[in-house]
Subunit: 179 residues, 2 copies
Amino acid sequence: MKFCSQCASPVAIRIPDGDTKERHIFEASGQMHDQNPKSIASCIPQCPVPNQLYHPHVEHNTGHSTIPAGFMENSETIEQAAMRETYEEACARVEISGLYAIFNIPHVNQVYMIFRAELLDGEFAPGIESLETALFSETEIPWSDIAFPVVIQTLQRFFADRPGDHFPPFVDTISSIKR
Amino acid sequence: MKFCSQCASPVAIRIPDGDTKERHIFEASGQMHDQNPKSIASCIPQCPVPNQLYHPHVEHNTGHSTIPAGFMENSETIEQAAMRETYEEACARVEISGLYAIFNIPHVNQVYMIFRAELLDGEFAPGIESLETALFSETEIPWSDIAFPVVIQTLQRFFADRPGDHFPPFVDTISSIKR
C-alpha cells in the first residue's frame, strides 16, 4: 500500500509512537491503515456413492489438484463462500455439513477454513477456473499432485477420522510453503 | 475504495463481464480489487480460582463490557492475535485452550473467532484501551451491559457447556446488530 484508497494521499510505513510494529500511516492525517489477513473458504465435497468421497479439481493456473477453495468476499458467510467457490470451480451444488479445519498461514497473511460438505445432486463439471473435475476414492487420490499442504493434511485427517464417523474441527498453523 | 492503493489511479464500481456482483475495478488496468472480510480474534480468559471464570473488561469507546477482542493483523496467527489483544486490553497473559466459536457477521464484513483461554499468572489490569478489568463468576456477569451479541451468545453457551467440561466449537451467523 502506497496511497490512501479513499483520498489517494501518500501512505508511509513507520512505527507509530507507543507502538512496536511498522504500520501504514496516512501522512495527511496521521491515521493508521490496518493490514489484515484474508480468509479462504474451502470444502471437501462428499458424494453419497460408496468409495467416491472426495471431489478435487485441477486449476488452470497451477495444473495441480485441489479441493474447491477461494477468497471469502464481503457480504457473505464463510459457508456461502465455500459453496460459491465449489459452484464456480466444479459446477457442483453442495450443502455444508460442518467446519472441519482452520489453518493459519501467517507468512502469506491467510486463514484457510475448510468445511465438510455433501454433493446435493451428484452433478459436477469443470468451472471456468478448472481444467478437470473428478471424484476419487481414498486409494485413488493423486497425493503427489495436490497443490497445497493444508489440503493434503486435511484429507489425510479426514480419512483417518472417517471410520469413526467423528470429525472434530481442528486448528493448525502452516509456517512454510514447502511440501 | 476510490483509488488504487498502489498507484493512486481511480477505481470504479461496476459488474464485470461474466460476473454477477459489483466489483472495485481499476480503470487504468481493468483489474479487480477484491474486498474481503476482516477477522476478529477473541478469547474467554478463565482463571483457575473457583467461581472466577470470566474476565471481561470495559472499553473506552463504548463504556460497555466485553471480553478481549480485536482485528487480526498480518503475520500473526488467530491465536497470537487473541493473546495480543488480551494483553493490550487487559494486561493479561493467557494460554489458548481451544477454538470455541466462529461467527459470520456479513453485514459488517467480519468473522469473529473466539477461543477459550487460561490466565497464566492470574494478573490483569486495564490496558490502554480499557477503563476497568474484572473477573466475574457466572452469576455476577453484567449481561445487560455486554456490548456484542456474539459475546452474550458465546458466554451463555460456555456456561451451559461447562458442567460437562466439553466445549465443542460452533459456527453461527449474526444477521443483525440489534440486541
